[in-house]
Symmetry: C2
DNA sequence: CCTGCCATCGGCCGATCGGTTGATGGGGGG
DNA sequence: CCCCCCATCAACCGATCGGCCGATGGCAGG
């Protein structure tokens, strides 16, 4: 069986070194290259054609999720294994929706990492336990925290102290509509005023 | 000049490997050990007596800031160089107050890291530019985010959607007083309503 | 001693918010 | 085809909020 070829994508040189060292020492893997942001990642994935891309999500200059989307869109024959720091990221689910094959945390033991890469190379999904349970809760309770696009726009303005009238002006809708959206937001977040809605939104990572 | 001895503290094996590899390859450094959380860090710092401790802040089981505090309290002869992922951490300032000699981000270039460790070993401070500017703004504007205890209590209840009347009841004060506190909160946070106050409080990490 | 900050309280008023009910139209899924 | 969700709008009303005036007492620092 030939070596599994890898592309490492992370904005931290330290992490790239660590990964490269681990996979070089392990045997059975070959690191083809490294990228420090999403744009480089897409370009190198296209050029080097690795079996697996190890991808961090939070990076300056080219978001990880966008990179995954782009790799999927171009039909590149590589699997993307997301390797991130926190399991509280807002974009765990978006990353998987965008086409990531697996998702695990950087504090995973070495052997788990190797296993995950081998699994990803074969197209099998490996998810860290925390992510897995999040996924199931997501399908079990789809309306939790599920605000519509418009409702999120309203909420963002509310969080900046904007009054209903001005929200209406900014979004080119009537004040009545703003109030309707707000009522829906309160119902979905299970709160009864704007302040609590903002707090809950932060808790659920619906706001930056 | 003898090698600078190091203790690496990070909960991620990947990062520990990366750092160990970098410093071993660079020459002039010797990695004495690794710790995965704050408690181990303190114990190993006492046992191994490294010149410099490379310390991550966010770790499960033993906070980084606590570890720094403990190392300072015990008068251990090592310098602590904080090496963290984001410059938006709440505890950048606490870490420095706790006794960290330097503070830089993991995405710093290798040579900056080496320079920082050499500087730390001599007791000189190296701060990443973002942190440095934060420090100066901290001393220039000390009343920003400086809510009184009572005001914080009020704000916490506001964030849970509590109305003024009920806040009054919960805190055993009159509604008028609640409104006074709120007016002061608005002034201090530079906002004009409770929703924006909650949002700003989250931004500045005044609320969990 | 005076100044500043914190915490407490009262009253007044206009503006705003939140709740409700009801209606329209478009789009996607069964 | 029907139903549900989204997005839009209207009118009404009571409750609440925020702004502004004022006041008192305590406590720390210069």
């Amino acid at each position: 069986m030939p070596d599994i070829t890898l592309l490492i994508v992370d904005d931290h040189p330290v992490v790239r070194d660590g990964l490269r060292g681990m996979f070089s020492a392990a045997g059975g893997f070959e690191v083809l290259g490294e990228a420090a942001d999403g744009r480089q990642a897409v370009a190198l994935a296209e050029e080097l054609r690795p079996d697996v891309v190890l991808m961090d999500l939070r990076m300056p200059g080219g978001d990880g999720v966008e990179a995954i989307t782009e790799i999927s869109r171009r039909g590149l024959p590589c699997r993307v294994l997301v390797l991130t720091t926190y399991d509280t990221d807002t974009d765990t689910i978006p990353a998987i929706e965008a086409g990531a094959t697996g998702y695990l945390l950087k504090d995973a033991p070495r052997d788990d990492l190797f296993d995950a890469v081998r699994a990803a190379a074969q197209g099998r999904s490996v998810l860290s336990p925390a992510i897995a349970s999040r996924l199931v809760s997501r399908v079990r309770e789809p309306r939790s925290g599920n605000l519509s696009t418009r409702e999120l726009e309203v909420l963002r303005l509310v969080a900046r102290g904007t009054g209903n009238r001005e929200i209406a002006r900014e979004l080119f809708i009537s004040e009545a509509t703003v109030k309707t959206h707000l009522t829906h937001i309160y119902a979905k977040l299970d709160v009864s005023d704007r302040a609590a809605a903002v707090a809950t939104a932060y808790d659920r990572h619906l706001l930056p």
